[in-house]
C-alpha cells in the first residue's frame, strides 16, 4: 500500500484535535455572550461605594461587572478586533478624556458593533461625554449649569432648586423602558439635555416640567437658556439602527445610594410625602432596557401559500387568496417566548404598499397569520413585516415573490350577456347541418316528373 498504516491513524487523531479546537471555540464564543460582561468606568473608586446598591442590583441580575478608573492607562474596549465587553457603564461625569485606547471613536464604534452604553453625567460634565452625547443626537448644556425648577423641587434641596421631584407623568410612555406605571416621583439633580430635532432615533425618556429650565443657578439669566420647559431632557435614550442601545442621564446622583434611600416631597405646601422614591425602580427598568434584557424581538419561521395549500407556489396569480404566517418571539427572562401584540401589521408591497392589514394570532398562540386576496396587479411583491415600537428592537422581515396575470383559460367562461353570441354560433352550426341535408339531398319534384316522363 502507498500509506503506512500509522499515517491514517495520525490523520484521525489530527481531525479529532481539530474538532476539539472547534468545539472549544464555539463554547468560548457562546460563553462570552451569555456572561453579560460589563465594563464600568468610574471617575474615582468611591463612586463604587456611593452607588453600591445600583451595582449590587446589577450583579444580582448576573452581570459580570469589571470596574476600572476612567483614566486607567490600560483601558481598551476591544482586543485583536474582538470586543471584550457586551455593555459599558460610564459613571465618570467630569472626566475630560478616558485613558488607554478609549476615545469618542472607540465609543461610537462600540455602539456600531452592537454594544450598549449607560452614561451618567452631572453638572460638571467633561468634554468626552459631551462629544459622545452630541454624536448620538443629544446636546448637553454647559458646565456649571443644572436643571432648575422653582415649582417642583424637593424639600431637601440645598437652596438652588436643582433637586427636582419628577412626576412619573414626565416619563416616556413606554413601560419597557421606564417600568410599570406608578405615581411615585423620582429625584433628579444634574444637567439639562436637549434632543437634536434632526435625529429621529433619540427617545425623550424623562423630561422636565413646563416650569423647568437649564441654567447656572448662580448667575442671573442673560442669554436664552439652553433648555426650557418640556423640551428640557433629563434622561435621553437612543436605539441605533443596529438595535444597540444608549441611555444618557444628565444626573449620576439619580443612581446613587443616597437618592435611592431618600424620601421625596415637593416643597410646595400640601405636597404629599413619599417615604420611598422611584429612583431604584427606574434605574432597574432603565438598565434592563439598555442592556437588552427586555424588548428584544426576533423572527422565527415565515411561511406563505395559497389558502388551503401547504407549499408556496412558484408564483401567485392575481386575486389568489393567500395565507401568510410569521413567528415572532420575545426575550423574556432569558427565554424566547412567543410575542403577543395586537398591532403587528403585514404589508403587501411593491414600491408602495398595496395591502396593509393587522396580523391575527394563530389559535395555538404561537404565531401570527393573515389571510387576504392578492390585488389585481401583477409584478414582484414582498410580504413585509416592519414592526417598530417604543422599547422594542426593530423587527423587519421581507419575503419576495411574484404575482403573474391570469392565464387565457382562467378568464370567465360563460358570460350571461354573451349568450346571444354563443347561441347564434350554435344556431349557425345547426343551420349548416340542416342546410347540408337539404342542399345535398333535395329532390326537385319537377325534375322527377321530367325523369318520370
Amino acid at each position: 500500500t502507498r500509506f503506512p498504516p500509522h499515517s491514517t491513524q495520525r490523520n484521525k487523531m489530527e481531525s479529532f484535535k481539530w474538532v476539539l479546537v472547534l468545539l472549544s471555540l464555539i463554547s468560548a464564543s457562546t460563553g462570552s455572550k451569555s456572561g453579560k460582561k460589563t465594563l464600568v468606568l468610574l471617575e474615582n473608586l468611591s463612586i463604587k461605594e456611593t452607588h453600591s446598591v445600583f451595582f449590587s442590583d446589577l450583579i444580582s441580575r448576573d452581570y459580570q461587572l469589571v470596574f476600572k478608573l476612567a483614566d486607567d492607562s490600560n483601558l481598551a474596549l476591544s482586543k485583536y478586533g474582538e470586543y471584550l465587553y457586551d455593555h459599558l457603564i460610564i459613571f465618570a461625569p467630569s472626566v475630560e478624556e478616558f485613558g488607554g485606547s478609549v476615545d469618542m471613536m472607540a465609543l461610537t464604534d462600540f455602539v456600531d458593533h452592537g454594544g450598549n452604553i449607560l452614561v451618567a453625567a452631572s453638572s460638571d460634565v467633561g468634554d468626552i461625554l459631551r462629544d459622545f452625547a452630541m454624536e448620538i443626537g443629544i446636546e448637553p448644556d454647559e458646565r456649571e449649569t443644572a436643571v432648575i425648577d422653582h415649582l417642583n423641587y424637593d424639600i431637601n434641596d440645598r437652596g438652588d432648586h436643582t433637586l427636582l421631584v419628577v412626576d412619573p407623568s414626565n416619563l416616556i410612555n413606554a413601560p419597557l423602558i421606564v417600568g410599570k406605571k406608578t405615581n411615585i416621583p423620582i429625584l433628579y439633580q444634574g444637567l439639562g439635555l436637549v434632543a437634536d430635532p434632526d435625529n429621529p432615533l433619540v427617545l425623550e425618556i424623562m423630561t422636565g416640567y413646563t416650569t423647568s429650565y437649564s441654567y447656572s443657578p448662580t448667575r442671573s439669566i442673560e442669554d436664552y437658556p439652553h433648555a426650557v420647559g418640556k423640551s428640557t431632557l433629563l434622561v435621553a435614550g437612543l436605539q441605533a439602527r443596529n438595535n444597540a442601545r444608549v441611555v444618557f442621564s444628565g444626573s449620576i446622583d439619580l443612581f446613587s445610594n443616597e437618592f435611592f434611600a431618600s424620601p421625596v416631597q415637593k416643597s410646595q405646601v400640601g405636597s404629599k410625602e413619599y417615604q420611598q422614591n422611584g429612583n431604584r425602580a427606574l434605574s432597574e427598568a432603565l438598565t434592563q432596557w439598555v442592556f437588552k434584557e427586555i424588548g428584544i424581538l426576533k423572527i422565527g419561521e415565515v411561511k406563505h401559500h395559497l389558502q388551503g395549500d401547504n407549499e408556496p407556489p412558484a408564483a401567485y396569480t392575481v386575486m389568489d387568496d393567500v395565507y401568510y404566517y410569521i413567528e415572532i418571539q420575545e426575550l423574556v427572562e432569558g427565554m424566547w417566548v412567543s410575542f403577543t401584540a395586537s398591532d403587528v401589521q403585514l404589508e403587501f408591497f411593491r414600491i408602495d404598499p398595496f395591502v396593509r392589514t393587522f396580523l391575527n394570532k394563530t389559535s395555538d398562540g404561537k404565531a401570527y397569520y393573515a389571510k387576504f386576496k392578492l390585488p389585481d396587479v401583477y409584478g414582484v411583491f414582498q410580504f413585509k413585516v416592519d414592526y417598530r415600537r417604543l422599547g422594542y428592537t426593530h423587527l423587519f422581515s421581507a419575503t419576495q415573490m411574484s404575482v403573474r396575470p391570469l392565464e387565457h383559460t382562467q378568464y370567465e367562461r360563460f358570460i350571461d350577456s354573451a349568450y346571444p353570441y354563443y347561441l347564434s354560433a350554435f344556431s349557425m352550426m345547426i343551420g349548416v347541418v340542416l342546410f347540408s341535408f337539404v342542399f345535398l339531398h333535395f329532390r326537385d319534384p319537377n325534375e322527377r316528373k321530367k325523369k318520370d316522363n
Binding site: 474615582n44 468611591s46 463604587k48 461605594e49 456611593t50 453600591s52 446598591v53 449590587s56 425648577d149 422653582h150 415649582l151 431637601n156 434641596d157 440645598r158 437652596g159 438652588d160 432648586h161 413646563t210 416650569t211 443657578p217 448662580t218 442671573s220 439669566i221 437658556p225 423640551s231 445610594n257 435611592f260 434611600a261 401589521q345 404589508e347 404598499p353 398595496f354 395591502v355 396593509r356 392589514t357 386576496k373 390585488p375 417604543l390 383559460t409 358570460i415 350571461d416 350577456s417 354573451a418 349568450y419 346571444p420 354563443y422 347561441l423 347564434s424 350554435f426 344556431s427 345547426i430 343551420g431 349548416v432 347541418v433 341535408f437 337539404v438 345535398l440 339531398h441 333535395f442 329532390r443
Partner: protein
C-alpha cells in the same frame, strides 16, 4: 478644596487643633433606616449574627433581636477549624450573654497561636480568646511579632487588624505599633472631599477602629490629626446610604470609633432644617454634633461672615445662642440680612473646655433669605410697528386671567411690562426666572425671557415680524400666554395664565410632520386593495331575450322549409356515405362544443383529424355518387 486643606494642615500644627466640619452626620433618619436594614436581615450565618448584633448595639438597640440571634448561635456551633466563625460566635455571645459555653475552644485556640499564622487569623484567635474571657499575654503573642507580620503582609488591612489585636493583648510594649500609625495614615488616597485606604471600606474601617482602640489601650494619642480624622469620617459618611449589611456594619464600627474616643472627635455643623429664613422663620438654627449625631462638649459658635451671592461680604463675628438641648445653636439672622437672596454663612466653633473636639474654622452653610413676590403695574399692549404707538393696552391683575383677546399681526409688536415687588417692604426685586410661555392650539410651547430694564421693572417685547419664522414657524392662531416667575429666594413661585393672544403671521408654516415621523412607533392605517370594478353589463333579461331571438331562425327553418316543399328524398341515392358524412359533420360541431366547454386545442385537433378524415372521405364519396347520379 485642595489649598484650603493644605492651609488648614499648616495652621493645625501651629496652634490648637483645627479641622473642617464634617458637613453631614449619621442623622436620626439614617439611624432609623440602618436599624430597619439590620432588623429585616435574616440571620442565616454566624457572620450575619455578628454584623446585626453589633450594628444594633451601636445604634442603641439590642433587646428586640437578642432572642432570635441567641437562638441562632445556640443552634449553630462554629467549626473548630474555622477561626472567623469562632470569632463571630464568641463576639455575639460576649455581647448578648446567650449562655453558650465556648470554653472548649480555649485550648485549641491557644495551641493554634503557636503555629504559623497570618495577622487576620491572629486577630480572630485573640479576639475569640478575649471574648471567652481568657487573657493572651506576651508569651503567647508579642506585639513585635504582630508588627513584623503586618510589615511582611504589607497591606493596610493587616496593619488595622494588628492594631485591633494588639489592643486586646494583656501586656507587652505597644510603642513600636503606635509609631507605625503615622506611616499607615499617610498612605490614604484622596478623593475630592475625603480620604480613604485603597482596599475600600473594610480596610479603612478596620484601620481607623484599630488606631482608635490602640490609642485607647495605651492612653496615648495616635498620630492622626483632627483633619485626617474628619476626612476619614467624611468617607464613611459617603457610604452611609448603603443597603448591604456588611457595609453598614463597617461604617458603624468606624463611626463609633470616631465618635467615642479621647483623642479626635470629628464634629459637624448641620442646618436643623432647610427652610429659608424669612419673617416667619427668623432664626438660623444649627446642630453641633459628633458623627453619630450625639452632643459634644459645649462650644462657642461664631457667625464670622455672611457673603451674598453677588460676593458682598459682611463681617459679623457674633456668637450663636446655645439652646438647652445641648446640640442646637441659633442666631437671629433676619433683621441683619434684610434683603432677600442666597448667602454663604461662614461659622467657626471653639470648644469651651479642653476636649477631643477640634476647633472648626470656615464652616460654610448655604442660607436662603426668602420673600413673597407680588406683580404690580402689569399691562400688555399691542404696538404699531412703524409708528411705535400703542394700539391697544390692557391692564393685567395677578392672578386673574384677562378676558380680552388681543390680536396682533406682522405689522405690530406685543409688549408686556410688569414690576416685581417684595410683598413685605414693597421694594422692587429681580428674580432668576421670568419666562413668558406661549402655548399654541396643538400644545407647542414657545418660551421667551422677560428681561429687567431696571431693578424690578420687567419688559417682554415680541416683534411678530422677526419672531415669525424662528419661534413660531409662521403658525397663525390663538396662543395661551402665561408668565412664570420663580427664584431661589422666592417663597411663592407661580405660573400665571395671563390670557390668550391671537397672532397672525405671513407665509405658510413649514410642515414638519412627515408620515415617517408620525407613524414611527405606531401602527399605520390599514389599506384595503381597491379591485378594479367589473365592466358594466346589460341586464340578463335583454341578453336572454336576444338569445331567444337569435335561435328563432333555426327553430323556424324546418317548418318553413316543409311549407315550401323542402325534402331530403335523394338521400337514398348516396346510400351509407351520406349517413357517414352527416354523422361526421354533426360530430365536428359537437367537438367544437366540447372545445368550448372543456377540451383544449391539442385534444380538439387530435379528435378533429379523425373526425375530419372520416367526414372528408365520406363526403367525397357521397358527392361523387351524387355527381354520378346527376350526370346519368
Amino acid at each position: 478644596m485642595g489649598p484650603v486643606v493644605v492651609l488648614l494642615l499648616l495652621v493645625g500644627y501651629a496652634s490648637a487643633e483645627i479641622a473642617p466640619s464634617l458637613g453631614d452626620v449619621i442623622t436620626s433618619r439614617d439611624q432609623t433606616r440602618l436599624r430597619e436594614l439590620f432588623r429585616k436581615t435574616p440571620i442565616d450565618s454566624l457572620t450575619m449574627a455578628y454584623y446585626v448584633s453589633n450594628g444594633l448595639r451601636i445604634l442603641g438597640e439590642q433587646d428586640n433581636s437578642k432572642k432570635q440571634i441567641c437562638s441562632y448561635i445556640q443552634q449553630h456551633t462554629p467549626d473548630s477549624t474555622s477561626l472567623d466563625t469562632i470569632f463571630y460566635a464568641t463576639s455575639v455571645d460576649a455581647l448578648y450573654d446567650c449562655e453558650v459555653s465556648y470554653s472548649s475552644f480555649e485550648k485549641s485556640l491557644k495551641d493554634s497561636l503557636k503555629s504559623e499564622r497570618n495577622v487576620s487569623e491572629l486577630f480572630y484567635i485573640v479576639s475569640s480568646l478575649t471574648n471567652i474571657g481568657s487573657k493572651v499575654d506576651q508569651k503567647l503573642l508579642s506585639p513585635s511579632k504582630l508588627l513584623d507580620l503586618a510589615e511582611q503582609e504589607e497591606s493596610i488591612l493587616s496593619y488595622g487588624q494588628a492594631f485591633l489585636t494588639a489592643s486586646l493583648l494583656a501586656d507587652g510594649d505597644l510603642t513600636s505599633l503606635m509609631d507605625t500609625v503615622e506611616d499607615v495614615a499617610v498612605q490614604a488616597d484622596e478623593s475630592p472631599t475625603s480620604i480613604y485606604f485603597e482596599g475600600g471600606l473594610e480596610t479603612t474601617s478596620t484601620a481607623i477602629t484599630g488606631i482608635v482602640r490602640l490609642g485607647t489601650k495605651t492612653g496615648n494619642r495616635p498620630t492622626l490629626s483632627a483633619l485626617q480624622a474628619t476626612l476619614f469620617g467624611k468617607y464613611f459618611l459617603s457610604i452611609k446610604y448603603t443597603e448591604t449589611v456588611s457595609e453598614a456594619w463597617y461604617v458603624l464600627q468606624a463611626v463609633e470609633a470616631l465618635a467615642h474616643n479621647k483623642f479626635f472627635v470629628p464634629t459637624g455643623v448641620t442646618l436643623v432644617n432647610r427652610l429659608p429664613i424669612n419673617i416667619h422663620n427668623q432664626k438660623l438654627e444649627v446642630h453641633l454634633t459628633n458623627i453619630l449625631n450625639e452632643p459634644v462638649p459645649p462650644s462657642d459658635i461664631k457667625l464670622v461672615t455672611i457673603e451674598s451671592s453677588s460676593g458682598d461680604k459682611d463681617t459679623i463675628n457674633k456668637s450663636f445662642t446655645s439652646e438647652s438641648d445641648g446640640i442646637t445653636y441659633s442666631y437671629l439672622l433676619f433683621p441683619q440680612v434684610a434683603s432677600p437672596g442666597g448667602y454663604k454663612v461662614i461659622l467657626s466653633t471653639e470648644p469651651k473646655t479642653a476636649s477631643p473636639v477640634a476647633q472648626l474654622v470656615h464652616v460654610e452653610l448655604p442660607v436662603i433669605v426668602s420673600f413673597s413676590v407680588v406683580v404690580e403695574s402689569a399691562e400688555i399692549s399691542i404696538i404699531e410697528r412703524d409708528q411705535n404707538v400703542a394700539v391697544k393696552t390692557v391692564p393685567l391683575q395677578y392672578p386673574t386671567t384677562s378676558q380680552d383677546e388681543l390680536s396682533a399681526d406682522q405689522h405690530s409688536k406685543v409688549k408686556m411690562t410688569f414690576h416685581l415687588l417684595n410683598k413685605q417692604n414693597k421694594e422692587k426685586v429681580n428674580v432668576h426666572q421670568t419666562f413668558v410661555r406661549l402655548v399654541s392650539a396643538n400644545k407647542e410651547e414657545i418660551y421667551f425671557v422677560a428681561t429687567p430694564t431696571n431693578i424690578g421693572i420687567y419688559t417682554f417685547e415680541l416683534d411678530l415680524a422677526d419672531a415669525a419664522k424662528e419661534f413660531f414657524n409662521s403658525q397663525s392662531g390663538t396662543y395661551e400666554m402665561s408668565l412664570i416667575v420663580g427664584g431661589m429666594s422666592v417663597e411663592n413661585p407661580f405660573s400665571w395664565h395671563i390670557g390668550s393672544l391671537n397672532l397672525k403671521f405671513p407665509g405658510t408654516p413649514r410642515d414638519d410632520t412627515s408620515e415617517e415621523l408620525e407613524y414611527r412607533y405606531k401602527p399605520r392605517p390599514e389599506i384595503q386593495h381597491l379591485f378594479r370594478a367589473p365592466e358594466k353589463r346589460p341586464p340578463t333579461v335583454v341578453s336572454f331575450t336576444f338569445a331567444v331571438l337569435v335561435m328563432a331562425p333555426v327553430v323556424l327553418l324546418v317548418p318553413v322549409w316543409l311549407l315550401l316543399g323542402g325534402n331530403i328524398l335523394n338521400i337514398t341515392l348516396s346510400g351509407p356515405w351520406a349517413i357517414m358524412f352527416h354523422v361526421g359533420l354533426i360530430g365536428i360541431f359537437g367537438l367544437y362544443y366540447l372545445f368550448w366547454v372543456q377540451l383544449n386545442m391539442f385534444q380538439t385537433l387530435k379528435y378533429l383529424i379523425i373526425l375530419g378524415g372520416v367526414t372528408f372521405i365520406s363526403g367525397n364519396r357521397m358527392l361523387r355518387q351524387i355527381a354520378k347520379y346527376r350526370s346519368a
